[in-house]
């Protein structure tokens, strides 16, 4: 069994525990407000960190020229996602921008 499959299984079990915990095991409404606020911020922080890691391509101080298509795709997606509802159009436009820059 590959590492990816093992990690996916582990994330699946952990996710189910998160889902069932406050319903069946431990009421999360009893968590202190500061902890709840930290959990609130964890989502945008995690998404943004994944975006940053994705743009950098897994290396420190990346070669910006080689990552320019990914960066441009992210910028185009962000601008459109702020202006329109839904994820499909922004993602397709961002992907198209990245593809065009990659070909040039």
């Amino acid at each position: 069994m590959s590492t990816a499959v093992v990690v996916l299984l582990a994330v699946g079990v952990l996710s189910w525990l998160f889902r069932v915990a406050a319903i069946t095991l431990l009421p999360a409404t009893r968590l202190p407000p500061s902890v709840r606020r930290l959990l609130d911020h964890a989502v945008p922080a995690a998404l943004a960190a994944m975006v940053g890691a994705g743009i950098a391509g897994g290396a420190a101080l990346p070669d910006l020229a080689s990552r320019l298509p990914v960066l441009a795709g992210a910028v185009v997606t962000a601008v459109l996602a702020w202006r329109v509802r839904g994820i499909v159009l922004p993602v397709m436009a961002g992907l198209a921008a990245a593809w065009v820059l990659g070909v040039l």
Partner: protein
């Protein structure tokens, strides 16, 4: 009762179809990314059903190169919001049968949470259960099928297709609507820069923690 429950099931299907269509692009990207990193189609489809959370699933596939623990931590931090959803929705599960209280939450994701909290006609336990199982079951079925389709089509894509750009674009598409205010924007910028400038898995973890800490600090400063 039977008629009204059938109406509830029909309403769940009507509500869910456009939602399933909206998450299909993410599912296709996840499937294609899984194929590119060598995860077999049945394993990725099973993972899609078990994880049933796009951003966390994508996090595992895109951060695995930084180490299994890093990938696990990133996915866990992304999915920790499910704790808040389950706390919020707990009253709807309070008077349900035991089996449903343990198994029903497996269908809890952003979309099913938003679907049921947008309706005011699900106070009756049987009606909520019917709606939840129909909407969540349909959404999970569509999700797994589309991820599997992406896994099958992924290897057929030309080498030049920038899947890493697609993965980043999907994440940006999910992030952007959350950062329209100053405080979440500061959280996001902190997390993004830290993750981009520091090496691999360390950058990812430092980015998540730094972003969340900046958010809490801004909360305290504002109050």
């Amino acid at each position: 009762m039977t008629r009204s429950l059938d109406d509830t099931a029909a309403a769940a299907v009507r509500d869910t179809v456009p939602v399933a269509a909206s998450i299909a692009p993410l599912a296709l990207v996840i499937g294609a990314t899984a194929a590119r990193v060598g995860v077999p189609v049945p394993a990725d489809a099973a993972g899609a059903a078990l994880v049933f959370a796009g951003a966390a699933h994508l996090a595992v596939l895109t951060t695995l190169a930084a180490g299994a623990l890093t990938a696990l931590a990133a996915a866990a931090l992304i999915n920790v919001r499910l704790l808040l959803y389950s706390a919020s929705i707990e009253p709807r599960f309070r008077h349900q049968p035991r089996w449903f209280r343990w198994l029903g939450p497996a269908l809890l994701i952003d979309q099913t949470y938003l679907l049921v909290t947008a309706r005011d006609d699900l106070a009756e336990p049987a009606r909520f259960r019917r709606y939840w199982l129909c909407a969540g079951g349909l959404l999970m079925g569509c999700w797994v099928a589309t991820v599997a389709l992406g896994s099958v089509l992924g290897p057929l894509l030309p080498e030049g297709v920038p899947l890493d750009a697609a993965a980043v674009a999907v994440l940006v598409g999910m992030l952007a609507p959350r950062v329209k205010a100053l405080r979440p924007a500061a959280v996001a910028v902190t997390g993004l820069l830290a993750a981009a400038l520091l090496p691999g898995g360390l950058g990812l973890l430092v980015g998540i923690v730094a972003g969340a800490v900046v958010g809490v600090a801004l909360d305290r400063w504002a109050s």
